[in-house]
């Protein structure tokens, strides 16, 4: 099982646990096989992520696509690490923030180039 953000959900995936809204009301039960309608409904309800069966946690995507070569990525990662030096990158939220910021830096740089 693993958490997948709603925008990445696909038809046929199976829920590993119940999907609840903020007040704890059940929207979809665990074991349900998702259909396109389900996914649209989850989006309409503002559900950010769902627990999906058979997915490995953590679902860490690589920082950048293969288009970016290491020579470009490494100095940026070093630079960003310096700025994040007071932050605990072991914390999942901070690790994700770091990844997103690096991604922005890289895509900004390639756009300029």
């Amino acid at each position: 099982m693993g958490l997948i953000s709603t925008e990445k959900l696909a038809e046929g995936l199976v829920l590993a646990s119940d999907v609840l809204d903020r007040s704890g009301r059940m929207l979809l039960a665990s074991g349900v096989e998702l259909t396109t309608r389900h996914i649209r409904m989850l989006m309409a309800w503002g559900i950010a992520e769902a627990d999906i069966a058979g997915v490995d946690v953590p679902q860490q995507q690589p920082v950048a696509s293969s288009k970016v070569d290491d020579a470009l990525l490494q100095p940026m990662e070093e630079e960003l690490k310096l700025i994040f030096s007071n932050v605990d990158l072991e914390h999942p939220a901070m690790a994700e923030l770091f990844r997103l910021c690096l991604l922005r830096k890289v895509s900004g740089e390639t756009r300029q180039a």
Binding site: I4, S5, F84, N86, V87, A93, E96, L97, F98, R104
Partner: protein, 288 residues
Amino acid sequence: MRRAKPDLEHIVNNATTVYSLPLIHDRLTQAINNPKASFADITTIISEDQGLSFRILKLANSPMFGYHKNIDTITKAATIIGTQQLRDLSLAISVMGVFKGIPEELINMTSFWQHSITCGIVARILATCRREANVERFFVSGVLHDIGQLVLCTAIPEQLAELIMQCRDSGQPHYQAQGEAWGFDHSSVSGEMLSKWKIPQIIAEPVANHHSPSKAVTYPVEAATLHLSDLIAHALQAGCSGETHVPPLAEQAWDLLDIPVSMLSTILKQIDAQLDETMAILFGKEHL
């Protein structure tokens, strides 16, 4: 002899004699709190200030609100956005005006307000995600959270410059260095300024505690939101208010907000769509 330690109360008292909020803010607050005041009374007060109305209308039609450019009068804006919310927006605009003409040797104003506005936008998006009521107050607290730095810029410029340099080299969080050297940091100055201006505690308390959100006992969620927003704004490196590193996360604040990690990427995407235009409206050179 070494310079005397700066005194928080003295600095704030001095600053409030120099910087005062425009009268319109008091009039608006009085009208909103007065049960006898009509809706028209409130919109009239705003409409009388052309510069303010102009910015509020531009803001109401910007991507931040997403009403597709249909709000053409203050009355319409007040109906759709709400009178309290307009008061909060006007507060952000007024305060930005108050600090015009601060010497820029230490902190570049464009950069300072870019950081502040980014923080405000992030706070507003976080609050929207959490389904908070009146998200404009989150925006305002973000825009105002670092005004203490501006006060310090004019009150004790040498001491501030020294610490900024020192932290840039050592990597120590700027607010920590201020706390160690002076016994208080810029967040207390910001908070005290807002309290002196009689800004409601729901905005002043989170601002005063944006580096120590657990100390905000009355409005912990607001303080936690502001704390995280400041951190994200620093991480994005959008503008700078004197701090060159991302401040450490208060994990309690993160736990309190209970936002899924996957939400961060959505939040960052929304910032991009809003930042440039909001910055241009609030800090733009256009005047009426």
